[in-house]
Structures are given as structure tokens and as C-alpha cells.
Amino acid sequence: MARAATTADAFNAVAEPRRRQILDALAGGEQPVNELVHLLGLAQPQVSKHLRVLREVGAVDVRNEGRQRLYRLNGQALKPIHDWVKNYERSWSERFEQLDVVLEELKQKEDGDGSDE
């Protein structure tokens, strides 16, 4: 099944380096927009654009406090990526289990043939 070629999922949302920088910054705790603007050294509209993408996939939540808009990380939305990495590890584990079988055969073959020196 093809995935939408938009920024509609967590993978695309974090594929952009600036957006990962924002997530990095928010990993340390909630931040107001102007602090993110300062940290990234980008113009506010650009930062807002990235934040909108992250909000659309639920990777960040926003709340208003007085005149400030405060953003925080929502790790649950990034769980597909976590699962994906686990998948990577599982993939190698399964590969190696097959390799065990191949190696067992090679060992028996070598024993059967006597020393191959």
C-alpha cells in the first residue's frame, strides 16, 4: 500500500532536519514559539510552518498561556517510528536465525568431509 506523498504521517514529519531540531528542543520540555524561533535561528513564519506540520501528525501539542503559545512533544505520535526501528532490529534477528541454520549445515558438511585444511 502506497503512503500518501504528503507530510501527513510521522515519518515525513520527522524527515525534515529542522523539524527534528524542533523535536529535539521540545524533548527537554515545553517551549514557547519565540524560544524555538531563537533556537533554530529561523524566521517565525518558517518555524510556524514546521510546527503546523508537526501538529498535524500529532507530534506536538500546543496550548495558550496568556499571550504565549506553548509547544510540547507528544511521543505517542512518534510511536510508528519507534516500531519501525524495532522492526529493523527484528529484521536482523530473523536474518541471523536463518544464518544459524546455514551455519549448522556448513559445520556438519565440514565435519563430514573431514578437515578442509
Binding site: R3, D9, F11, N12, V14, A15, E16, P17, R20, L23, D24, A27, L73, N74, G75, Q76, L78, K79, I81, H82, W84, V85, N87, Y88, E89, R90, S91, W92, S93, E94, R95, F96, E97, Q98, L99, D100, V101, V102, L103, E104, L106, K107, E110
Partner: protein, 164 residues
């Protein structure tokens, strides 16, 4: 008593651009090396139970190329290729790895180092995957597909923290 399987692969993150895969095998290193570098044998294990390896080409010499193509049961085809940079028989292989499913794939080649260390007839295998640039990692993350999943690992820790 010999233990046949050492269980799962261990994946760790030495640096922001590296992935280290480790696994122990109950076999001497020359056999692990053989299974790793013989096309007919690679076809038997590299599929990871997700389909089949349709192509496994290995030209095992410095400057020689390798290419693997896997096809999953649901029809997803993934191709990988690279060039051998350093070969020490039964001990070490340095090669590039290009995932063919991403744009400008060649620019995002990773450098993989395989090492085999034998103690008492058992072999510890490590594969160190190094991405030259952040862009390479981004491309891998963006692919989001089996095989293109080399990275995103640096995000994992943050995800884990925020899930607590």
C-alpha cells in the same frame, strides 16, 4: 554445552551517524564469512523471513560490486548494492551500501564494516553502519520502508523518554 542460537541481534547507537549490529554465532568465523560472502548462501538467510532474495551478486575483491534484491510476499521489491573497499578474509569487510529505493541513492551511501571475532569456536559478528551525512539519514528515515530503515535511531531515545 554449546548453545545453538544467541537470540536476537543487538542494535546500538555509538554516535549520531552510526548503527552497530552485534550477534554471536555458534560457528567458527571462516564459516560465518563463507555464509556472508557466498551468493547461494546469502539467498538463504538475507530475506529475514519476509519473502525471498531474488538477486545476490558478489564480486568479492576490492573495487568489486555486490547487489542484493529482495521481494516480499506482498510484492515490495528492495534493491541494495555497493562496492567492496577492504577485504580481510574471514575477518573484516568494508563496503558501501546504497539503498536503491531513495532519490539520489548513490549520494546517500552508507559505509558498512563487518568484523568477525572468534573465541573457542564461537564467532561474534558486528556490522557498523556509518552514514556520511545527516541528509543520508533523513533519506533513510523518509523512505520508511523495510530495508530503508537504517536510521531514525537517534530519535528513538527521545521517543522512549517521552513515552515514559
Amino acid at each position: 554445552m554449546a548453545v545453538t542460537s544467541s537470540g536476537t541481534a543487538t542494535v546500538t547507537l555509538p554516535t549520531d551517524t552510526q548503527i552497530l549490529i552485534t550477534r554471536e554465532f555458534d560457528a567458527p568465523k571462516h564459516l560465518v564469512y563463507k555464509a556472508w560472502t557466498t551468493p547461494e548462501l546469502v539467498k538463504r538467510w538475507w530475506h529475514a523471513n519476509r519473502g525471498e532474495v531474488t538477486i545476490a551478486e558478489i564480486d568479492l575483491r576490492v573495487g568489486g560490486m555486490w547487489r542484493y534484491v529482495s521481494l516480499t510476499a506482498d510484492g515490495f521489491e528492495a534493491g541494495f548494492h555497493g562496492e567492496y573497499r577492504e577485504i580481510v578474509a574471514n575477518e573484516r569487510i568494508v563496503s558501501t551500501e546504497v539503498y536503491e529505493g531513495i532519490p539520489d541513492a548513490e549520494e546517500h551511501a552508507a559505509l558498512n564494516t563487518l568484523t568477525l571475532t572468534e573465541v573457542d569456536g564461537r564467532t561474534t559478528l558486528t556490522v557498523l553502519v556509518e552514514h556520511p551525512t545527516k541528509i543520508g539519514r533523513d533519506a533513510h528515515i523518509n523512505s520508511g520502508m523495510e530495508g530503508g530503515m537504517q536510521d531514525a535511531l537517534d530519535l528513538l531515545e527521545q521517543v522512549a523518554i517521552s513515552l515514559r
